[in-house]
């Protein structure tokens, strides 16, 4: 039912990843372009995401929204997303419509049309999306935080862009962007699902994408190296009723050999009921209501985050100290073999359930190829997980989770009820009383 993925590069530079999964009569077709917000400059911040929208707005032979409508009409789904390093277009359709999807993707890669009228209408949509995002006070605060974190690096401003730039992007800007980045040599096509064979898919791709040579692979920004600045702390008052404390550390590129160890650390410390943060901050100390974490490892650099949401009567500094104490405990006390085994089992289970979805598989392969450099890394990671030792994991914690490089963001509700001060004070007095009682 499942076969190993195969790859093939066409003469025009287009790379195809193909994997047969015959358990359901559907096929996922994703196309990844190696361009994102990291390729932008002042004046056109947000153009990658803007262009993602324009790719649905018609070409020489396909009318506005026609791509999405044709996919809908056969019972399928079409979507897209923009990141710092890539823009991906995803389609899932019943298997008999594979050729149609390839034809549609080839058409908009080659013959997109951008007119002033459509640009202006879509600009309004993008501004609506921008404001929807910015109406989330936590998301907005995090965007500001990451700008400080990445400093002058191309990752500082994310795909959402800058409002003033979005308002000024022109038809010429779009044409220039399209011609530079949307070409076969800059694209990876991923096909996963109920296909007849890889050979059959290759023939179809050659039919639709052949004869189009958009030129060599374009170059991105020359210097993507990330200088880790010393850690800093930020505190903001936001229109959000739940205080949140976040700490973050510079993380390596997603393909870096330390990536697997960092993911293990994240699972040990923040994932599940039995994670260290949940045990310590939520259960034992009652400091937080919800804890979690994530490693955002992009193509060239990243950030490893931990956070806790707590009640307004709790002091943020106390929560921050508790988060940092758990990080320190990993570095000084290590990770147990039982924890390593748990992470292996959790990862294997997650991977297995992921395999049921062709769309998900296509996304994983595309990410591994375009962001990590090789689609085989998706499988290799599992092998590394099996062989990596607890000592290697702890070494990684000491390398990346150091207090000198720690950044911190504290979000407090703008509106604070005065009674909460008294509740917090009362709680602290009661806790002192309890501790004294236990000491007797």
């Amino acid at each position: 039912m499942y076969e190993s993925p195969e790859d093939y590069t066409f003469d025009n530079g287009l790379k195809l990843l193909c994997m047969r999964k015959a358990s359901a009569p559907i096929v996922a077709v994703h196309i990844w372009y190696r361009t994102g917000s990291a390729n932008e400059h002042d004046g056109v911040r947000g153009i990658s995401h803007f262009f993602e929208h324009m790719m649905f707005r018609g070409s020489e032979r396909v009318g506005p929204e026609e791509h999405a409508k044709r996919i809908n009409d056969v019972g399928g789904y079409a979507n897209a997303f923009t990141t710092e390093d890539a823009t991906a277009y995803t389609n899932s359709v019943p298997r008999e419509h594979l050729s149609m999807v390839l034809e549609l993707e080839a058409e908009r890669m080659r013959n997109l049309r951008v007119t002033q009228e459509v640009l202006d209408t879509e600009r309004r949509v993008i501004l609506e999306e921008y404001h929807t995002y910015m109406n989330n006070p936590v998301a907005k605060a995090f965007l500001e935080f990451r700008r400080e974190f990445f400093g002058s690096h191309p990752y500082a401003i994310g795909p959402l862009g800058e409002l003033d730039d979005i308002r000024r992007i022109t038809v010429d800007d779009c044409h220039e962007y399209y011609q530079r980045w949307y070409r076969p040599s800059n694209a990876t096509l991923v096909v996963v699902g109920d296909i007849d064979s890889t050979e059959a898919v290759k023939e179809l791709v050659a039919t639709h994408f052949g004869g189009f040579d958009g030129g060599p692979t374009p170059e991105g920004p020359v210097d993507m190296s990330f200088e880790r600045a010393p850690g800093r702390s930020f505190a903001k008052r936001v229109d959000f009723d739940v205080p949140v404390q976040m700490i973050g550390y510079p993380a390596p590129a997603s393909r870096h050999s330390d990536g697997v160890a960092l993911d293990i650390l994240q699972q040990v410390i923040s994932m599940g009921e039995t994670s260290r943060l949940n045990r310590s901050l939520v259960r034992d100390q009652g400091l937080a209501v919800l804890v979690g974490g994530a490693n955002l490892m992009l193509k060239h650099a990243g950030i490893s985050l931990l956070f806790a949401a707590f009640t307004p009567d709790m002091r943020a500094t106390r929560v921050e100290q508790a988060l940092c104490a758990e990080v320190e405990r990993v570095s000084s006390g290590g990770v147990s073999e039982a924890e390593m085994a748990k992470v292996r089992n959790m990862t294997l289970a997650m991977r297995t359930f992921e395999m049921y979805s062709g769309d998900h598989l296509a996304q994983r392969l595309g990410f591994a190829e375009v962001i990590e450099g090789d689609y085989r890394r998706w499988v290799e990671r599992l092998e590394t997980l099996r062989t990596i030792t607890a000592e290697q994991v702890v070494e990684t914690a000491r390398k990346y989770w150091s207090s000198a490089s720690r950044w911190s963001l504290s979000l407090q509700p703008r509106r604070r009820h005065p009674l909460l001060h008294l509740v917090g004070l009362g709680r602290r007095i009661a806790n002192i009383g309890r501790r004294k009682a236990r000491e007797v």
Partner: protein
């Protein structure tokens, strides 16, 4: 026409205690899922104790009478097992996913959780705190606030479908209210257990059939009368919920519709796809987003329970555009109701309905969900297996009949969450407006 779908071979049996078992072997991947569905849900929350079903389902997952919460979680998570739950208006589904190599540990643990819950007091306090924090976080989610207010407006805050958890109701919850609720919901009578995935059928039945069949809670099952709902008023009733810090407003427009038992349920579904359920293929998206650029997204959804449901047209837009947006939505909707739909639109809606079936059944997890859904509405598996033919047989005339019968402009609820100062002047001409502050208790 899409290929006919056939469920994988399975064994079904009824236990003397009223439990229905479904054994569904599938060897696609070395994984399994077990799920139990109870045909009772959040609509049973007593007045003043809204949130108790959600709390009870969360609490169920925190340990058993024999194993404290941390030990229980460790036993599951160390083996990569993960619990999941769905707490809906008329049903509860609780399940566990795991690698098949751990089946003989996971299934007994899961069953112990169901039949012998811990109901730990400290966990109750923790989960309550979590729920209160979620309610606080919801204050910053205008779309969620709009939906809550819309349902309160539509059904009335004295109707179970119009009520929702509040800080007051969650604080009122105790272990006694949870126990009472669980006694009503968690009973083998009417419940369905599905065991699906990579297992040997004979070995599984030998190992676990007696476990499931032996469950005797020692009490009679709770029987609740079916709920009904009717439009509360005629004309357009608007509620403007003031949240002054927003640059964008969230809007919901809609009315009561028939439930799942309606004989025209397919026609209603196709009509909704054309109106706003079909993404870029829908009339609302085509007009509001693609042609006018007024929003990032607009859709219409049907929330259907057994005997009634609601149509919700939901979107967001800048505060300054709310008046325009409402005018456009009402224009598109009136035209839809008055003129009906075309042959071409119905053909495309049918094509989506049958083509998308393959996605709804991709993977054993989706198959389990579908089997339980069929059970919930007393439907046979052939309902899905002949679905393409059923849809293919629906003509435009029938869809337009359903639109005339069940979609109306005569009794609409409109909810807007946004900046009152900017919005109020725009909506004055639309009819009576009720003003509420977003922090106030639900009227």
């Amino acid at each position: 026409m899409a290929a006919l779908y056939r469920f994988p071979p399975m064994v079904e049996e009824d236990c003397p205690n009223g439990l229905h078992l479904m054994w569904v072997p599938d060897h696609e991947l070395p994984a399994m899922t077990i799920g139990i569905q109870f045909p009772r849900g959040k609509l049973l929350d007593p007045h003043g104790f809204e949130g108790v079903t959600e709390l009870a389902v969360e609490l169920l997952q925190k340990g058993t009478a024999q194993r404290p919460p941390e030990q229980f979680s460790e036993l599951l998570e160390s083996r990569g097992c993960s619990l999941f739950a769905d707490t809906a208006e008329e049903h509860i589904l609780i399940g566990c996913r795991f690698l098949s190599s751990y089946a003989f540990e996971a299934i007994p643990l899961f069953w112990e959780m169901i039949v012998s819950p811990g109901l730990d007091l400290r966990e109750l306090k923790r989960v309550k705190k979590e729920m209160l924090t979620s309610l606080d976080a919801e204050m910053s989610e205008p779309a969620g606030l709009a939906s809550k207010h819309f349902h309160a407006q539509l059904f009335g805050s004295d109707h179970p479908a119009g009520r929702s958890p509040s800080r007051k109701s969650v604080r009122a919850l105790s272990i006694e209210t949870v126990r009472t609720l669980l006694e009503r919901i968690v009973h083998p009578q009417g419940a369905t257990v599905v065991v699906a995935g990579d297992f040997d059928l004979d070995k599984a039945r030998t190992a676990w059939h007696s476990l499931f069949a032996a469950w005797d809670p020692g009490r009679t099952p709770y029987v609740s009368a079916p709920l009904q709902a009717a439009p509360r008023s005629t004309g357009i009733a608007m509620r403007l919920v003031n949240k002054g810090d927003l640059t964008q407003a969230s809007l919901v427009v809609g009315h009561v519709v028939p439930g799942e038992q309606c004989e025209y349920r397919h026609e209603i579904g196709l009509a909704n796809y054309i109106l706003g359920g079909g993404n870029f293929s829908s009339r609302l998206m085509g007009e509001v987003r693609s042609r006018l650029g007024k929003t990032y997204g607009i859709s219409s959804q049907l929330g259907r329970l057994r005997t009634f449901g609601d149509l919700m047209i939901a979107t967001s837009t800048m505060n300054e555009q709310v008046g325009d947006m409402l005018e456009i939505i009402l224009r598109v909707y009136r035209q839809f109701v008055q003129d009906g739909v075309t042959d071409d639109e119905v053909a495309k809606a049918r094509s989506f309905a049958t083509g998308s079936l393959a996605f709804q059944l991709e993977g054993i997890g989706h198959v389990v969900e579908k089997l339980l859904w069929l059970r919930l509405y007393d439907r046979d598996k052939s309902y899905i297996e002949r679905y393409p033919q059923t849809i293919a047989g629906i003509q435009t005339q029938a869809v337009n009949h359903a639109i005339r019968e069940y979609f109306t402009t005569d009794a609409l609820a409109v909810t807007v969450v946004g900046n009152r100062r900017l919005i109020e002047p725009q909506v004055k001409g639309l009819g009576a407006v009720e003003y509420v502050d977003y922090r106030a208790a639900m009227p």
